[in-house]
Subunit: 199 residues, 2 copies
DNA sequence: CGTCTATTTGAATGTACTCAAAAGCGGTGG
DNA sequence: CCACCGCTTTTGAGTACATTCAAATAGACG
């Protein structure tokens, strides 16, 4: 049961655990089927879980007062997703997390996560590693946003995450990259507006 | 020796350690004096350390091919700083980290950090906590950049980090907030250019 | 097929940048 | 102690990147 499961392969990329530990880890998760367009996190609700995506695709986004939405993160197979800030501090969510496809996830409860960490230092190490990597990733994203133009960010995303581009609607990608849907559309079709300087 | 030191007060905000543990932790760090304008990290050099700022101010930034610089992070008293991505993966730096004032730091060697983590789960927990918080912080920053205008980002920074604004040169703050020095100057003096629509 | 949502296209506009130059400020040396 | 030099900040003017709004077109789903 434990061996061969995706989440176990995943944790073993970071720490070396035996069969018994794998089994303990495995049973901490609840397997849930999520239908397309279903929300797993919503603003003002508690965030009891973080989610490991077995199969499918998700999008986390915030909505501003003016009604604009902004994609904070995507997740497909083998990625984690949740409103991390709310989960970590166990506060109400400020984001939506929605399924972009019919999906299968493993939900890990916050309390359960703390128990795992206390129970076995290897689990603590594991969560530490993924947090560290997440931090390094977010910092790279901040740098991209600071240093690149909209077109460069799009090209960069294409190179790094070609799989995502296939599975994610364009308005969601645009709002992830920090540009309007229309502008991304123009970039994709290489038809950025020429401002005509003729009088 | 151990008790009363800033780094010990700091770690005790996250984990409960006794005097002996405090002493072990303390001796893992090397205290270094850094003069204003001195670099502690430079592109293409290894990044053996992360730094805890006892006193002073630092700025981490990247420089693009076109020669524009972009502030990735600041650190003043009680904050950490380094090229985190390079440190974590033990690769060559891609950033500069420079002292903005005469400063005093505690340097922690990467290998030493790993030893601490292995030696005592509490230390592992501690580094895990600060990585988690760092991740949550970076994610908030990404959201700010996505959802706010230049002016809003500036106002928000003023509210959140009034201390920093005092101690950081304006060009550095501008490049942290993702805008040009000139534009920040105009915002501060509330004199954003009016495009005259008269023919 | 019709409806609903997503994408594309056009045109006008705005936010923020660039370049250039002046003004302010701080440190250093005579 | 003041003058000068280098660096930072301010101001002006023109411009570009990207947005908004509106409308047309294309896709997805029942």
């Amino acid at each position: 049961m434990a061996e061969g499961s995706a989440i176990i392969d995943y944790i073993r990329r970071f720490v070396d655990i035996n069969e018994e530990e794998a089994s303990v880890f495995n049973t901490a998760f609840k397997k849930i089927f999520i239908k397309k367009r279903q929300f797993i996190v919503q603003p003002d609700f508690p965030v009891p879980n973080r989610y490991y995506v077995l199969q499918g695709a998700f999008r986390a986004y915030v909505v501003t007062e003016e009604g604009h939405d902004h994609t904070v993160s995507f997740a497909i197979d083998d990625w984690w997703i949740t409103d991390y800030n709310a989960y970590l501090y166990q506060q109400k969510a400020t984001m939506f997390v929605v399924a972009l496809e019919d999906s299968m996830v493993l939900a890990l409860d916050f309390t359960k996560e703390q128990e795992l960490k206390i129970q076995n230092p290897k689990f603590e190490t594991f969560f530490c590693r993924i947090a560290e990597r997440g931090l390094a990733y977010q910092q790279r994203r901040v740098i991209s946003n600071l240093t690149m133009t909209a077109e460069e960010r799009y090209q960069d995303f294409l190179n790094r995450y070609p799989l995502f581009v296939q599975r994610v609607p364009q308005y969601a990608l645009a709002s992830f990259l920090g540009m309007s849907t229309e502008y991304l559309s123009r970039l994709r079709n290489k038809r950025v507006t020429k401002t005509k300087n003729n009088i």
